[in-house]
């Protein structure tokens, strides 16, 4: 055993380079002989032994594993090409092998009838073709060797059946059926068979005609039932939601009917909730969205101060550090606007967010003021808005004059990543 050089490969068939199953190619590779020489020698051997050589070949095919079985890593990349090419040759080889095997049996005296020969050969070839085909359809099953799947390139993915595959498959079936018919006709059994086949065919067609409408309707009913089930689920969900939210709020509003401000706030909050449920339900806005953060900040201020705030957003970006500061400054600006101008119409928030810049405008319709005259101790404006923006590399601009309302512009700019 130790005499075997460590680097020498074990004997493997090489179907990739082989004519039939790669036995000769494998042996030639192992021995270092030209495979063509080996093949010629082999054919001579087959003829000389009256077919015994073919039996030997078949045994070798069964016994010698194909190369790559133990090392899928090396084999995998080339495998699909092999699967594609091999079909016809293997079928022809299988047919020839069957033929020679039969010749051997005949020579040995184990024989029944000459009528057996061609059907058997054709059937073998057809079966080989089909066998090959079924393996080609599910390459993953062939690959079920060691789970080194991670190393396998994606070429190991199951192949779709192309027209060539169908053609081969159909030809294989035709070969087998032809073989059966040939055998039957050779045994004069075809006459009876023809009638039987005809009877079966007619029966199948009649059955298809009878069952087709039924099956079709069954399929449709199943689909309709499924759709109905989904619909009723949706209806139940909707009813549950409306009950938990809208109906409760309406009851509350009837109880508080005297307090105009409270009723307006309730209605507005309910509207926002329902709106977000109806229209944002399909938006998968997550925690990391700047637009979503601004919207929820506006909602908080709306709830806390009972002001009406309309938010319009364009674009979006990830919520990062400067983004958080922008949201906090926006919240502060909104709180100011709600406190001092909440009674004077809707507060408009416009946020435009892109990869390089995020900008928020908060505009109210209040009395307005002179920014220069804001006392230094008004921390809200100076510290929470202007200071916060500047600390985070942004800027805040306040535009206001008595009688025109106020607009606060918040900007952060990022360097393009």
């Amino acid at each position: 055993m130790s005499a075997t050089p460590a680097r020498s490969t074990p004997l493997r068939r090489d179907p990739e380079h082989g004519v039939v199953a790669g036995v000769c190619a494998g042996i030639s590779e192992r021995l270092g002989i030209d495979p063509v020489l080996l093949r010629v020698g082999f054919v001579v051997l087959v003829i000389a032994t009256a077919g015994l050589g073919a039996v030997a070949y078949a045994i070798a095919w069964l016994v010698i594993p194909a190369n790559g079985v133990t090392s899928p890593r090396e084999r995998a990349p080339t495998r699909p090409a092999r699967v594609r090419r091999g079909g016809w040759r293997v079928a022809a080889g299988a047919g020839l092998l069957a033929l020679s095997a039969l010749l051997v049996f005949r020579e040995l005296g184990i024989w029944w009838s000459d009528a057996l020969v061609w059907p058997l050969v054709l059937a073998t070839a057809g079966a080989a073709l089909l066998w090959r085909q079924s393996r080609a359809m599910e390459p993953a099953a062939v690959d079920a060797t060691p789970p080194s799947a991670s190393a396998d390139p994606p070429t190991a993915a199951p192949r779709r059946a192309g027209p060539a595959d169908l053609y081969r498959g159909g030809f294989g079936i035709a070969l087998v059926v032809g073989a059966a018919l040939l055998f039957l006709s050779a045994n004069d059994a075809l006459g009876a068979t023809r009638e039987a086949v005809l009877a079966v065919l007619v029966g199948v067609m009649a059955l298809a005609l009878i069952l087709a409408p039924f099956l079709w309707r069954l399929g449709r009913n199943l689909a309709a039932e499924r759709a109905e089930r989904i619909r009723s689920q949706e209806r139940a969900e909707l009813a549950a939601h409306l009950h938990d939210s809208v109906l409760q709020t309406l009851t509350l509003m009837q109880k508080r009917a005297g307090d105009e401000r409270e009723v307006a706030a309730l209605a507005r909050r309910q509207e926002r909730e329902l709106r977000s449920w109806l229209f944002d339900g399909r938006r998968q806005r997550d925690e990391s969205s700047l637009a979503a953060a601004i919207e929820s900040a506006a909602a908080e201020v709306e709830d806390a101060h009972g002001a009406a705030i309309d938010v319009v957003t364009v674009g979006d970006r990830r919520l990062d550090g400067p983004g958080e500061a922008l949201v906090a400054a926006t919240r502060e600006a909104l709180t100011n606007a709600a406190k001092f101008a909440g009674g004077a119409g809707t507060i408009a928030v416009y946020a435009e967010m892109g990869p390089e810049r995020a900008q928020v405008f908060v505009r109210d319709r209040g009395a307005g003021f002179d920014p220069a005259s804001v006392p230094a101790d008004r921390r809200g404006l100076r510290e929470s808005i202007v200071g916060r923006m500047e600390r985070n590399g942004g800027r805040a601009m306040i535009r206001s004059a008595p009688g025109t309302g106020t607009e606060i512009e918040l900007t952060i700019e990022m360097e393009p990543a």
């Binding site: 109806l278 944002d280 399909r282 998968q284 309309d310 319009v312 364009v314 405008f361 505009r363």
Partner: protein
């Protein structure tokens, strides 16, 4: 008021009909508009709306986006067959961008949300009657989202399909809650020019068949 021909004069009250499938909402709008506009009737379905509009020939149709049987888009489509000049103003609680853009593309000359105040709504109707476009901040946001956003400034070509820089400026100011006259002041242009820009944007929205617009709508539906 009968259909006397003088009603189209600029100072006359515009004749409107209200199309919405919610009776409560219709009567609410009607109550707000009585005295400001000439409300000719209400319709609660697509069929009713088509009949009413054909009978009354209002200056402006206040149209709900969402209605059974095809919604506002269907009303516009069927009325336009007989009377392509009929003017519509979409009035909706819908926040779904694709619905709003769809009704604008069908031919509505503007979109306002149902929370709009009575005087503002009357003003918007008047503007639509006069042939101008009415963009609410939200609609301006949708349009900016659909058109601008991704297009780098350098690649804007004079194609009909894209917004000019000035048009985008106007839209941004609308989105920020500015009134037309405030926009005019801010940009140092006349209010008429502001209206011309908004009308140009509306025309681009309606004529544009660039596939980015529909892709944008589809993406919002699927991903957002």
């Amino acid at each position: 008021m009968s259909g006397d021909p003088s009603r189209r004069a600029d100072d006359a009250e515009p004749a409107v009909v209200i199309v919405d499938d919610h009776a409560i909402f219709r009567s609410g709008v009607r109550a707000e508009l009585e005295g400001r506009l000439d409300v000719r009737g209400e319709a609660g379905s697509v069929e009713e709306a088509v009949r009413l509009i054909a009978a009354e020939h209002p200056d402006v149709v206040l149209l709900d986006v969402h209605m059974p049987g095809g919604g506002g888009v269907e009303v516009i489509r069927r009325v336009a067959r007989e009377n392509p000049a009929q003017r519509f103003l979409a009035l909706s609680v819908s926040d779904a961008a694709e619905d709003v853009i769809a009704v604008i593309r069908a031919g509505a000359r503007g979109y306002v949300t149902k929370t709009i105040s009575g005087p503002d709504l009357a003003e918007a109707v008047r503007r639509v009657r006069d042939g101008d476009a009415v963009f609410s901040p939200r609609l301006a946001g949708f349009v900016l989202d659909a058109f601008a956003g991704q297009i780098p400034e350098a690649e804007v070509d004079p194609d009909l399909d894209q917004l000019t820089l000035r048009e985008r400026e106007v839209l941004r100011l609308i989105a920020r809650g500015y009134l037309y006259k405030e926009i005019a002041l801010e940009l140092s242009i006349s209010p008429k020019t502001v209206e011309a820009h908004v009308s140009a944007v509306l025309r681009k929205l309606q004529l544009s068949n660039r596939h980015e617009l529909s892709r944008w709508a589809v993406e919002r539906r699927l991903l957002d």
